[in-house]
C-alpha cells in the first residue's frame, strides 16, 4: 500500500515533468498540468507518508538500472515518512498557490520549463528521502540541487540572480563532493552501496575513518542545510527564486541535509562519538544565533526569511546534537525525545517557513517589491495574507500556542536533561545552549515584529499609488492550508507525537510517545518523571476564556462613549505622514549598536546645506553592515584561487620549445628515477 501510493506519487511527478515540458508552447495548459500533477503527486505522497509512518517496518523495493553496480533501491520507513509528509504538505500548498501565482508568467516566461524543474525538484526530494542506496541517493541529491539551481536562476536575465544561482550550485557541488567521499568510504568498508550494509561495516571501521566519515557527512549535509559558516549561498539564492520556489527551498530542500544527518549519523554510522554530537550542537547554536542576528539587519523581506532558515536549522541541529550525545552516553530515552524535538521542529519549520515565503510572495506579487522600507499598511488591502503571515510569524517566533513553541519546548527540555547526563564541563554547554536558544527565540520575535509591522501595519511607504489587491483565491487557499497546519500541529501536538514512535523505535529502539503525553492526552510532558509539562490546547483555551470578560469590560465602556478615530500624536506639528514612520532600519538600530562587534556597521551621513548650516536642505543617510563571512572568508579564498589560476596559465604560453621541454624533463626524470628498480 505504501509502495503503491509512493509509486503513484512518483509517477505523477514524472509525468508532470514530461507533460509540462511537452506543453511549453501552451502556457495555460502547462500551468494547469504543472499544478494539477503536483497536487495529485502531493496527495498520494501524503497518503504514502501517513501509511509509512504508521506502518513502522520499512517497505523495500528496487528497480534495475542496467548496471548491476547501481540499483535503484528504495526503502520507505518512518524517517522517510516524516520528511515525505512535510514534502507532501508543502508541495500540496505550493501547487494550489501556484495556480494563480504562475498566471503572471503566462506569455512572459516559459511555464513549461518551470513546471519541468518544479516536478523534477519534487521528484528528486521524494527519492532522496526514500533512497536505500548511496548511488540513488546521490543521484536524487544532485538532481535536487540542479532543479533548484534551474529554479533559482529562473529570472536569469538578472545579474544578481545568476550570481546567486552559481554560488548555490557550486556550494551544492562541494557538498556533493563531500558526500561522495563519505559514501565511498562507507562503501569501501562494506563492499556495497546499500545503506543497509553500512551499519555493520561502519562499526568496524578504524577510528580515523570514522572521524573522516563523520566530518565528510557533516560538512556535506551541513552545507546543504546552510549551517554557518557555509551558509552564504542561502540568503543569496532563496530570495531571488520565484516565491513559490523559495517556499520549497527554505521549507524542505534545506531539510534534506537534516534528513541526511539523521539517516547517516543515527542509522548508517551507528552512532557517532560524543565530541561529534557536541560539534553538531555547537554548530547549531552558532547558526541559530548568527542566523537570527543577520536576519534582523535585513530589510529585504525574502532575505530576512532566508536568514531565519539558517536560524531554524540551528535549532534543529541543537536537538539532533543532543540526541547524538544522549545516544552515545547511554540514554536512548532522552535521545528519542531530542530526536523528536529535532524532527518535529523540522516539520514545523517546513510548514511555517513555507507559509511565510508564500506570504512574502503574495506581497511581492501585488506590490512588486521585496524591500520592506517601501512597504507598509498592507493589512488593509490584503487582510487574509496579513493574517496568514501573522500566524506564521507567531509560529516561527516560537510563541505559544502554535507549533513552533511545541518543538522549541521539547528542544529546551532535551537540553536541560543534558545537564544531568554528561560529565565535566560539557554539561555546562547544555544550559548555555538553552540560554542561546532563548536569545534566538527572543531575537526572532523582535525580527518578526519588524517584518510583520513594517510590511503590513501603519501607513504605506510609497506603494499607495500602486494598485494593491488581495491575492487571488488559490493563493489564499494555499496559505490558509499551511496556517491551519500551524495551528493544528500547535494545538494538537499531543495527538501527533505518538506518530514518532515508529521513528524512534527504528533509529534508537525506544518508544517514548506515551511518556510524552499525560493528562488525558492534552498535556505534553518532557518524557521523564517530574519533568516539565505544558499544554498548548489548554493555553489556547485559557486565552480564549479569559479574553471573554476582558472583551466584556471594553464592550461595556464602549456602550457609554463612542470610540473615535483620530490622528496619531504628532507632537503638535500636523501632517504625520509615512515619512515619519519608524523604518525597518531604525527598528533594528539598537541591536545593530549592541552587536556592532559582529556587524561592523558602516554608516555615512551627508548633509547638503542651502544657506545656513543649521538647516540642511537634504540629508543622505547610508548604512550597511559588513558581511563578515563573505568578506573575510570567501572573497579572499576566491581571489586566491583566481590569482593562482591566472599565474598557472603561464604553463600554456604558446612556446613550442617550452612544451617540448616539459616532455623532455619528464622523460629525463622518469628515466633517472623510474627506469632502475
Amino acid at each position: 500500500m505504501v509502495g503503491v501510493s509512493f509509486a503513484i506519487s512518483v509517477a505523477c511527478y514524472l509525468t508532470g515533468a514530461i507533460a509540462c515540458l511537452a506543453s511549453s508552447r501552451r502556457p495555460a495548459l502547462a500551468r494547469y498540468i504543472c499544478c494539477t500533477a503536483a497536487l495529485a503527486g502531493a496527495g498520494f505522497g501524503a497518503l504514502a507518508a501517513v501509511l509509512g509512518i504508521l506502518r513502522g517496518t520499512p517497505v523495500r523495493f528496487s528497480v534495475s538500472s542496467g548496471i548491476p553496480l547501481f540499483a535503484y533501491s528504495f526503502s520507505y520507513d518512518a524517517l522517510a515518512g516524516f520528511f515525505n509528509l512535510a514534502l507532501a504538505i508543502l508541495a500540496g500548498a505550493v501547487s494550489i498557490y501556484s495556480f494563480s501565482y504562475l498566471k503572471e508568467f503566462e506569455g512572459k516566461r516559459n511555464i513549461g520549463f518551470f513546471g519541468f524543474l518544479f516536478h523534477a525538484l519534487l521528484l528528486s526530494l521524494t527519492i532522496t528521502f526514500t533512497a536505500a542506496d548511496a548511488f540513488l541517493f546521490l543521484m536524487a541529491w544532485e538532481v535536487m540541487a540542479l532543479a533548484s539551481y534551474g529554479l533559482v536562476t529562473y529570472y536569469h536575465e538578472d545579474e544578481e540572480t545568476r550570481r546567486a544561482g552559481l554560488l548555490y550550485i557550486i556550494m551544492s557541488h562541494i557538498d556533493l563532493g563531500c558526500l561522495l567521499l563519505g559514501f565511498a568510504l562507507l562503501s569501501q568498508a562494506s563492499g556495497s552501496t546499500e545503506f543497509a550494509s553500512f551499519h555493520a561495516a561502519a562499526v568496524q571501521m578504524s577510528n580515523g575513518r570514522q572521524v573522516a566519515a563523520f566530518m565528510l557527512f557533516f560538512l556535506g549535509f551541513g552545507m546543504k542545510s546552510g549551517i554557518i559558516p557555509f551558509h552564504i549561498w542561502l540568503p543569496a539564492a532563496h530570495p531571488v527564486a520565484p516565491s513559490n520556489i523559495s517556499a520549497l527551498l527554505s521549507g524542505i530542500v534545506i531539510k534534506a541535509g537534516i534528513y541526511g544527518m539523521a539517516r547517516i549519523f543515527l542509522d548508517s554510522l551507528g552512532g557517532v562519538p560524543s565530541w561529534a554530537g557536541l560539534l553538531v550542537l555547537i554548530v547549531g547554536v552558532v547558526s541559530a544565533v548568527l542566523g537570527v542576528l543577520y536576519a534582523l539587519m535585513e530589510h529585504d523581506l525574502k532575505r530576512l526569511l532566508a536568514y531565519h532558515s539558517i536560524e531554524n536549522i540551528g535549532i534543529i541541529l541543537m536537538g539532533l546534537g543532543a540526541a547524538l550525545i544522549f545516544r552515545v552516553e547511554g540514554h536512548p530515552q532522552l535521545a528519542a525525545v531530542a530526536l523528536i524535538a529535532a524532527i518535529f521542529h523540522t516539520l514545523n519549520h517546513a510548514i511555517f517557513k513555507c507559509l511565510l515565503f508564500l506570504g512574502a510572495g503574495s506581497v511581492l506579487h501585488s506590490t512588486g517589491t521585496r524591500n520592506m522600507e517601501e512597504l507598509g499598511g498592507l493589512i488593509r488591502p490584503m487582510p487574509v495574507t496579513a493574517f496568514c503571515f501573522l500566524i506564521g510569524a507567531v509560529a516561527i517566533s516560537g510563541l505559544p500556542p502554535l507549533n513552533g513553541f511545541v518543538s522549541e519546548w521539547l528542544t529546551y527540555q532535551s537540553l536541560l536533561a543534558g545537564f544531568g547526563v554528561t560529565g565535566g564541563l560539557t554539561r555546562i554547554l547544555f544550559p548555555l545552549a538553552g540560554s542561546m536558544l532563548a536569545l534566538t527565540g527572543a531575537l526572532a520575535a523582535a525580527c518578526f515584529v519588524k517584518a510583520f509591522a513594517i510590511t503590513f501595519l501603519a501607513l504605506p511607504r510609497g506603494t499607495e499609488s500602486r494598485h494593491i489587491h488581495e491575492s487571488p483565491r488559490p493563493m489564499l487557499i494555499g496559505m490558509g492550508l499551511l496556517t491551519a497546519a500551524c495551528v493544528a500541529l500547535g494545538l494538537g501536538a499531543t495527538g501527533f507525537l505518538r506518530a514518532f514512535d515508529p521513528l524512534t523505535e527504528q533509529l534508537l529502539g525506544q518508544r517514548v510517545g506515551s511518556n510524552l503525553i499525560s493528562g488525558k492526552g492534552l498535556v505534553l510532558s518532557a518524557g521523564m518523571p517530574h519533568g516539565g509539562t505544558v499544554s498548548t490546547a489548554i493555553i489556547a483555551l485559557g486565552l480564549l476564556i479569559l479574553a471573554a470578560p476582558a472583551a466584556l469590560l471594553v464592550w461595556m465602556a464602549a456602550q457609554r462613549f463612542a470610540t473615535r478615530r483620530g490622528p496619531s500624536w504628532d507632537c503638535g506639528l500636523p501632517g504625520l505622514s509615512a515619512e515619519n514612520e519608524y523604518t525597518a532600519t531604525a527598528f533594528s538600530k539598537p541591536l545593530r549598536m549592541i552587536f556592532s562587534a559582529l556587524y561592523q556597521p558602516r554608516r555615512e551621513i551627508q548633509a547638503v546645506f542651502d544657506v545656513s548650516p543649521y538647516y540642511p536642505k537634504e540629508i543622505r543617510f547610508e548604512s550597511e553592515i559588513e558581511p563578515t563571512f563573505e568578506k573575510r572568508l570567501y572573497a579572499p579564498l576566491q581571489e586566491f584561487i583566481v590569482r593562482v589560476s591566472t599565474k598557472m596559465r603561464a604553463i600554456q604560453a604558446g612556446s613550442i620549445h617550452a612544451y617540448l621541454l616539459y616532455i623532455f624533463v619528464t622523460l629525463i626524470l622518469l628515466l633517472f628515477f623510474g627506469a632502475r628498480p
Binding site: F135, E157, Q188, Q652, A675, P677
Partner: protein, 499 residues
C-alpha cells in the same frame, strides 16, 4: 571478414570523396559509410559477445571485447560527427568562410569540402585499425596514422593560428609517438630475450599477453615508462597535453570531436594493452603509481585553465585533458572497480563529449567568435535548443548526476578507496568540484543572461538532429544502460584485468 569490412568501408568513403564533384554526393557517401560502419561495429560487438574474440589472417587482425568496445565507440562518434558535419560545413559555406579561404589560398570550396570528406574517413579508418591491430607495431603505425591524417584537419581553415596549432600538434605528437615506438621496441626486446625471434615474429599482443609474466623485467619497466609518455602524449596527459587546446580550438568541430573522443580512446586503448603486459610482468604496483601520478597531474593541470578561460573551445580541450586524466587515474587505481569504472568512463565520455563540441560549434558559427567576452551571454534567447543542450552537456561532462559520467566517477572513487589512495581520492574530488564550478560559471554566463539581441540563426535540420539525438542518448544512459553494452564493457574490463 567483418574485420576487414570495418576497415574498407571508411577507406572507400574517403576514396569516393576524391571522385565526386558534388557536395551532396560526398555527404551521402560519408553518411552511408558511417551508418554502415556503425552497424558493422555493432555486429562485431554482438559477435564478440556471443563467440569470444574474432581474428583474421592468422591473428593479424584481432578483436576481443576491448577492441569491439573501442570500435563501437569510434563508429558511434564517427556517425554522430558525420551527421553534424553536413550541417556544419553547409553553414560554413553559406556564411562565406570558404570564400575567405578561397581568396587567401586559392582553393575552391568544393576542394575544401573534399579535403574534409576524404581525410575524415581515413582518420577514422586508422582509429579502427588501432583497435583491430593485434601486432603492437601495427598498433603504433595506426596511431601515427591518426596523427598524420588529423594534422591536415587541424589546419583545415588555413589561418595563421591553424598553422601554428598544426605545427605544434605535429611536432609534439611525433616526438610522443617516437617515445611510444621506443617503448614498443623495448617491449619487443624484453619479450625477445625470452621467446626468441621465431615465436615472436608477429609481435602479436595475444601472444605476448600470455607470456608476459616471464619477460625481462628491467626492460619492461623502461618500456612502460616510454609507452606511458608516448601514448600519453596522444591521449593528452599532462605534461604532454600542450597540443590539445591548440588543435581542438582550430580544427573544424567534427574533426575536433573526433580528436577529443576517438583519438583519446585509441591512445588510452593502446595504453591499456601495454598496461596488461606491464602488470603481468611487473605486477600492477609499478604501473599504478605512475598512472596515478600522471592522471592526477592531468586533472590538476586542467583546473586553472578551466577556471580562468576566455575561449570556450579551449575550455573543451581542457575538459578533454581532465577526462584523459581521469581515465588514466582509474587505470592506476586498478582493481575490478577501477578498470570497470575506467571503461564506463571511456564509454560515457565518448557519448557525451561530442554533444558539447556540437553545441560549441553552433555557438561559434552563429556568433562568429569563440571568445566568451564577445559572445555577451544570453544565448538561450536566440538559440534555445543549443543553449539548453549546452548546459545539459556541461553538466553531463562535468560528471554531475543524473548523467552517466557520474556513475563512472563514483565507481572510480570507490576503486580509489579500495586501492588505499585516500589522499589522492580527496584531491581528485576537489579537482572535479573545481572543474565543475569553472565550467558552469563559464557556460552559464554564455547561455543565460539578458537577451543581447543576436539575430536567431537559421535552423539547420542536420545540426538539430545530431544535437537532439545525442542529448536524448545522454539523458537515457544516465538512468539506464543497455545490458549488452554493459556486458561488453564487463568483458573488456576482464581483458584489462588480465583474465
Amino acid at each position: 571478414m567483418l574485420l576487414l569490412w570495418l576497415l574498407i568501408v571508411p577507406l572507400l568513403a574517403g576514396l569516393l570523396a576524391f571522385l565526386f564533384r558534388k557536395r551532396s554526393l560526398m555527404e551521402l557517401a560519408n553518411l552511408t559509410a558511417f551508418a554502415i560502419e556503425f552497424c558493422l561495429a555493432a555486429a562485431l560487438a554482438a559477435q564478440v559477445l556471443r563467440n569470444g574474440p574474432v581474428s583474421l589472417w592468422n591473428g593479424f587482425f584481432y578483436a576481443d571485447a576491448l577492441s569491439a568496445l573501442v570500435i563501437l565507440l569510434s563508429a558511434f562518434v564517427a556517425l554522430a560527427c558525420s551527421i553534424y558535419a553536413v550541417g556544419y560545413f553547409r553553414d560554413d559555406e553559406e556564411s562565406g568562410v570558404f570564400q575567405e579561404i578561397q581568396e587567401s589560398s586559392g582553393r575552391a570550396a568544393i576542394d575544401k569540402l573534399r579535403e574534409y570528406y576524404a581525410l575524415a574517413p581515413i582518420f577514422i579508418c586508422s582509429m579502427i585499425l588501432v583497435a583491430l591491430a593485434n601486432n603492437l607495431g601495427i598498433l603504433w603505425i595506426a596511431v601515427e596514422g591518426t596523427t598524420l591524417a588529423s594534422v591536415f584537419l587541424v589546419m583545415f581553415y588555413g589561418r595563421e593560428t591553424s598553422l601554428e596549432a598544426a605545427w605544434k600538434y605535429a611536432i609534439i605528437a611525433s616526438v610522443g609517438l617516437s617515445l611510444a615506438l621506443f617503448g614498443t621496441i623495448l617491449t619487443y626486446y624484453s619479450a625477445f630475450r625470452l621467446l626468441g625471434t621465431e615465436t615472436l615474429a608477429s609481435l602479436n599482443w595475444s601472444v605476448l599477453a600470455g607470456n608476459a609474466a616471464n619477460f625481462d623485467k628491467p626492460t619492461m619497466r623502461l618500456a612502460f615508462i616510454l609507452i606511458l609518455l608516448g601514448f600519453g602524449t596522444k591521449a593528452g596527459i599532462a605534461p604532454m597535453h600542450t597540443w590539445k587546446p591548440d588543435a581542438y580550438s582550430e580544427a573544424p568541430i567534427p574533426a575536433a570531436a573526433l580528436l577529443a573522443t576517438g583519438v583519446l580512446n585509441c591512445a588510452v586503448y593502446a595504453l591499456m594493452r601495454f598496461y596488461v603486459l606491464s602488470s603481468k610482468c611487473l605486477g600492477p604496483q609499478f604501473a599504478s603509481h605512475l598512472l596515478v601520478i600522471f592522471g592526477l597531474l592531468s586533472i590538476g593541470v586542467a583546473v586553472p585553465f578551466i577556471l580562468v578561460q576566455k575561449n570556450f573551445r579551449r575550455l573543451l580541450a581542457y575538459s578533454s585533458i581532465d577526462h584523459s586524466g581521469i581515465m588514466v587515474l582509474a587505470l592506476g587505481f586498478g582493481g575490478p572497480l577501477g578498470i570497470l569504472g575506467m571503461l564506463l568512463h571511456m564509454t560515457f565520455h565518448s557519448i557525451t563529449k561530442p554533444l558539447l563540441f556540437f553545441c560549441a560549434g553552433n555557438v561559434q558559427q552563429h556568433l562568429n567568435t569563440d571568445l566568451f567576452r564577445k559572445a555577451r551571454g544570453g544565448l538561450i534567447h536566440s538559440m534555445p535548443l543549443t543553449g539548453a543542450a549546452f548546459l545539459l552537456a556541461t553538466l553531463a561532462v562535468t560528471g554531475s548526476p543524473p548523467f552517466s559520467l557520474f556513475q563512472s566517477e563514483f565507481t572510480i572513487l570507490r576503486s580509489a578507496f579500495s586501492a588505499g589512495y585516500f589522499v589522492v581520492a580527496i584531491i581528485f574530488i576537489g579537482f572535479l568540484v573545481t572543474i565543475f564550478s569553472g565550467f558552469l560559471v563559464h557556460i552559464s554566463s554564455l547561455v543565460l543572461g539578458a537577451d543581447p539581441d543576436h539575430s536567431p540563426p537559421k535552423s539547420c535540420r542536420w545540426k538539430s538532429a545530431s544535437i537532439v539525438g545525442l542529448a536524448a542518448i545522454v539523458i537515457v544512459i544516465g538512468f539506464w544502460l543497455p545490458s549488452p553494452l554493459y556486458r561488453l564493457i564487463q568483458g573488456a574490463a576482464g581483458i584489462v584485468m588480465g583474465g
